[in-house]
């Protein structure tokens, strides 16, 4: 009983902060999502309109289009980051000359703010002054202009995200790989398992919890990407890189449509929670037929 009381006392500051900075704003956004509210209009008061915003959202082509673009971005970026991150983590498990320097350089993108990453990539991809369009043209004869080509803009954002966030995946997977016991691998070697079998039956199941945690972090981050994209393309050309975060920003700030923007935010949060929960259930939750 004593330890329980002490536990609650120690948790109290965190719970209070979480309530005021996490739970209350969330409840407020849910509350606003049921209203029509433009605080800068002639009548700035909130007008309750029931589920009208939710009714509107399922027919909103701009929202559905940005949802599709976001899902494509999340699939391409997160999958690529996991594969490249795992391969790099395996490479860092071996000894090679210059390993510590390479590991430090490889981790550098992580310490950069997303808005800086966006502006650096904007400089690198601007047709007249950027290094990437220049060399693509000089070496391969490819003309690259992310201001006019939708596939080029989308691909550049995916590559930028991979460059920025793969080190995070690498670091978490290195931590997971380092903590693995050696015995199962030695036994598999004695039993004659090849590398693919060892990976599939030993490494992958043992690093699954770390992998799921990494996927959660990257998935949640990728679903609410705003600043890098805003800096690089501003959601264009057209609406080809108008991800959900950018769509919410445009709805709330330039259009000052706070009610509908809150509705989109609530739906994005709902989708994020559902996707993460499904992932958790499919990979980690105890099932009927494998209890214990």
């Amino acid at each position: 009983m004593q330890s329980n009381k002490l536990g609650w006392i120690l948790l109290a500051p965190t719970l209070v902060i979480l309530f005021f900075f996490g739970v209350l704003p969330f409840l407020y956004v849910v509350f606003v999502s049921f209203h029509q509210w433009n605080p800068f209009a002639a009548s700035p008061e909130m007008i309750f309109n029931g589920a009208e915003n939710f009714r509107r959202i399922v027919f909103d082509d701009a929202f559905l289009s940005s949802l599709g673009v976001t899902v494509a971005f999340v699939v391409f970026a997160v999958l690529s980051e996991l594969i490249i991150g795992y391969l790099l983590a395996q490479a860092f498990m071996k000894e090679f000359p210059g390993k510590s320097i390479f590991r430090t350089i490889h981790t550098l993108p992580l310490i950069m703010a997303p808005i800086i990453v966006g502006s650096v990539w904007k400089l690198m991809t601007t047709p007249s002054i950027g290094i990437i369009p220049h060399y693509l043209d000089e070496w391969f004869g490819i003309t690259m202009n992310i201001g006019t080509s939708a596939p080029a803009a989308f691909l550049t954002i995916v590559i930028m995200d991979i460059w920025h966030w793969t080190p995070l995946v690498t670091l978490t997977l290195i931590a997971a790989l380092v903590s693995l016991p050696r015995d199962p691998f030695e036994q598999a070697q004695i039993d004659g398992a090849n590398k693919a079998q060892t990976f599939w039956h030993i490494t992958l199941p043992m690093i699954t919890p770390a992998l799921v945690a990494t996927i959660f972090i990257r998935l949640m981050d990728a679903l609410r990407t705003v600043d890098e994209v805003w800096m690089l393309t501003g959601g264009g050309p057209g609406s080809s890189t108008r991800f959900l975060g950018v769509h919410i920003f445009k709805e709330v700030f330039p259009k000052t449509n706070y009610g509908y923007g809150s509705t989109i935010s609530v739906i994005v949060l709902y989708l994020t929670i559902v996707v993460c929960w499904l992932l958790y259930v499919s990979m980690l939750a105890p099932r009927k037929n494998r209890k214990g």
Partner: protein
């Protein structure tokens, strides 16, 4: 009983039978859902289904004239079933 004996008894490992009888704080159980769930999980699943059903209803069923309240009643019935038998 001395304090030392009490400590030994408290920390002694439970037998398999005792372990199964031991009440858990989360009260997980197996119902018709394919995973073990506690009360919070079942409420969460109900809310997720309710929201998904409502959005689906708004998009495809309501334009044909069926009120959203029908969806809410069905979602409530599903929620009760999941919470009780899930």
């Amino acid at each position: 009983m001395t304090r030392q004996n009490a400590t030994q008894l408290d920390t002694a490992p439970l037998s398999e039978e005792e372990n199964e009888k031991k009440p858990t704080t989360t009260q997980e159980r197996q119902g018709f859902l394919p995973i073990e769930t506690n009360a919070f999980d079942r409420c969460f699943i109900s809310v997720v289904i309710w929201v998904a059903m409502s959005l689906f209803w708004f998009r495809f069923i309501e334009p044909m004239g069926a009120s959203i309240w029908i969806s809410n009643v069905i979602a409530l019935a599903i929620a009760v079933h999941i919470v009780r038998k899930g």
